[in-house]
């Protein structure tokens, strides 16, 4: 086992990793930027090393300075967390070259999954379903044939595309001609490349991913799925497991596909296979189509890993460290089981009424919910500053319940207990998502928040106006009595300066 581990990350995930290190008896080294000099993650580590100014490029993305910090502190391994350099193959390689252990997959696995087009071809070869489609089509009759083979509706889209440009949904053969013409024109204008492809169009696509886990001795399993369809701006905000959509057969089939996908790149450590899922194919066997399609692989710990931990009983971060140290992962696929239901809500400092625009400021009050079955992974305390330099994730609120229904009830109770003042948050927004009948019936697809959920913040209640008024009368007028600046966990008073 490692004696000392450097955590090349910040915030809640750095803290989560440190706890696992401490339980395994390994010392921890935190790194921090200028903006993070007062942050919780720097305080909880056995050592904290300053690595640069606030911009990620000058700190958490600076491979050289991270390696130097690891060598200087005599760490023997680096955990990259998620984001930043976690999926950077060359960083993983550099860590190896410095005779340190990278707590993650091999640089080769990261590289193989890093190129999205290449990886899709690789997955097809490995027999993993990808979205049915055809490339390299020339004549309109080629397109027609392809569309018929796929089955309507189809999507005509620019091969070079992205961001919805050069993309047309075609519901029936009569619409095909015009769709090709207009998409080709738009593609040509936008990308200087008028090649088009045709693929299956999935109107109410869900995002369902599978956690995979492997050791360095060739043992590879999946740890079941996570339903991550509640998204805004293509980013997940609510995740749950099990998915309300999967049958046991489908779960088995998708799990096997996930393991095959990971095996195709000789994967070890924790990874996630993301699938697009078509809920209209509730009986895929009849349609001759799997109904799920490889999207991409995340070759690192996932933000939403806690819901898998709660339902499988495993500590994924401890196992990441153990298998990186060469240990075998001891559970066979048959020994692994799902139990109960877990939901994660990502509490963001952002304004759902204003395009989910990030909100920055000082946390005037910050009270996390607590209680049986509630887990909060966070890196903030009252008095902390939410800066614009990093992701505005305040906390991951995770609950466990015996059933989906009780988990939703627990999450609602927990969200109602969460107090965060000083920034705008999505707490009220998520309460309303969770109580929407589309959510409770499992019908929320990846575009639902943008296309269907027309959220408005509630107008201030009589009670809230009374409270604000009485606070002014009884508290506000006494200097600094509302704001918690005397909180014992508020930022360091820093009378003696901080050692860099």
């Amino acid at each position: 086992m490692f004696k000392k581990i450097l955590i090349a990350n910040r915030g809640e995930i750095a803290i989560r990793i440190m706890r696992a290190c401490k339980e395994l008896g390994a010392k921890t080294v935190a790194v921090y930027s200028d903006a993070d000099k007062n942050s919780m993650h720097a305080q909880l580590a056995d050592e904290a090393i300053h690595i640069g100014d606030s911009s990620p490029k000058q700190s958490y993305l600076n491979a050289d300075v991270l390696i130097q910090a690891a060598l200087a502190s005599q760490a023997d391994a680096i955990h990259p967390g998620y984001g930043f350099l976690s999926e950077n193959a060359s960083f993983a390689g550099t860590v190896d070259s410095a005779h340190l252990t990278f707590i993650g997959p091999s640089a080769d696995s990261i590289r193989a999954m890093g190129d999205k087009a290449e990886s899709k071809i690789r997955m097809k070869k490995a027999g993993v379903p990808t979205v049915p489609g055809f490339e390299g089509l020339e004549s309109e009759s080629d397109f027609k044939k392809a569309a018929e083979e796929i089955g309507y509706p189809v999507l005509v889209k620019a091969a070079a595309g992205g961001g919805g440009k050069g993309m047309r949904v075609v519901n029936q053969p009569e619409e095909l001609h015009e769709a090709i013409e207009s998409a080709r024109g738009e593609a040509s204008n936008a990308f200087g490349d008028d090649r088009l492809l045709v693929e299956k169009y999935i109107p109410n696509a869900h995002h369902i991913e599978f956690q995979v886990f492997g050791d360095q001795h060739g043992h590879l399993v999946h740890l079941f799925e996570r339903e991550c369809s509640t998204q805004r701006r293509y980013q997940k905000i609510i995740e749950e497991t099990p998915s309300p959509l999967l049958t046991p057969e489908l779960r088995k089939q998708m799990g096997e596909a996930a393991v095959n996908a990971a095996r195709a790149v000789n994967y070890y450590n924790a990874g996630t296979i993301e699938f697009i899922f078509d809920p209209s194919l509730s009986t895929p066997a009849l349609s001759g189509d799997e109904g799920f399609y490889f999207l991409e692989m995340n070759t690192r710990l996932q933000v939403e890993h806690p819901i898998t931990e709660l339902t499988t009983g495993l500590d994924l971060v401890q196992w990441q460290i153990r298998v990186a140290a060469g240990e075998r992962f001891p559970y066979s696929q048959e020994q692994l089981t799902q139990r109960g239901h877990a939901i994660e809500c990502r509490v963001y400092a952002e304004d759902p009424a204003n395009g989910f625009f990030p909100s920055t400021g000082k946390l005037l009050q910050y009270i996390e919910p607590r209680g049986p079955g509630i887990r909060v992974d966070s890196g903030f305390r009252a008095g902390d500053e939410v800066s614009h330099f990093y992701d505005p994730l305040l906390a991951k609120l995770i609950v466990f319940g015996e059933s989906r229904e009780t988990a939703i009830q627990k999450m609602q109770a927990a969200l109602r207990e969460f107090v965060a003042h000083g920034v705008t948050t999505n707490i009220d927004f998520m309460q309303d998502v969770l109580s929407h009948e589309d959510f409770t019936s499992g019908k929320v697809s990846t575009k639902w928040v943008e296309n269907k959920f027309n959220w408005k913040p509630s107008t201030p209640t009589f009670e809230s106006l009374i409270a604000a008024s009485l606070a002014d009368l009884t508290i506000v007028n006494r200097p600094s009595s509302i704001v918690n600046e005397h909180d014992p966990f508020s930022p360091w008073k820093n009378p003696n300066g901080f050692r860099n």
Partner: protein, 162 residues
């Protein structure tokens, strides 16, 4: 006494140990059970209400019954910009990079039109015209980094030109 938050006025009258609150035709009897830093324990028409309140200048964050509201307290004087502003200066909501400027000085714009795009926190931030009008001045150019609250562009209301 009267307290004004945003556009709403609440009237609060002491009544022995309690208060009578009036707002929008509704009336309630309020008693303060306890207070502590940032927290009030109230009895409103006999119902116990726990409220968390934080202040930052005129801003008030209030959490009651699991819902959070951001109110702006007014001194009671005329509210800023209410019908008064003829030229509106738009400022950067956070530090970032000017990625595109879509208009030129003197150009007519319609309410909601994208005037420029900033990039901050890996996001595109679109700056929209607050009203129909004319671009009076451009304070920044493409590629420039801007600070929070830095002025970006001034739009003059069309009504003042007519």
């Amino acid at each position: 006494m009267k307290l004004i938050f945003d556009n709403t006025t609440l009237d609060l009258k002491p009544n022995g140990k309690s208060y009578i609150a009036t707002f929008d035709g509704k009336t309630a009897t309020v008693e303060i059970l306890r207070t502590e830093k940032g927290k009030l324990d109230l009895l409103i028409d006999g119902k116990r209400v726990i409220a968390y309140v934080s202040a930052d200048n005129a801003k008030r964050w209030v959490t009651v019954d699991g819902r959070t509201f951001l109110l702006t307290k007014s001194s009671g004087a005329k509210r800023r910009g209410a019908g008064g502003d003829q030229a509106s200066g738009l400022t950067a909501p956070m530090p970032g990079l000017v990625r595109s400027v879509n208009v030129v000085e003197g150009e007519s714009v319609t309410k909601g039109q994208t005037l420029m795009v900033l990039e901050a926190m890996k996001m595109e931030i679109r700056i929209h015209a607050p009203m129909d009008g004319v671009v009076k001045s451009l304070a920044v150019k493409v590629g420039q980094t801007v600070e929070r609250e830095q002025e970006l562009i001034k739009v003059e209301s069309q009504t003042s030109k007519v």
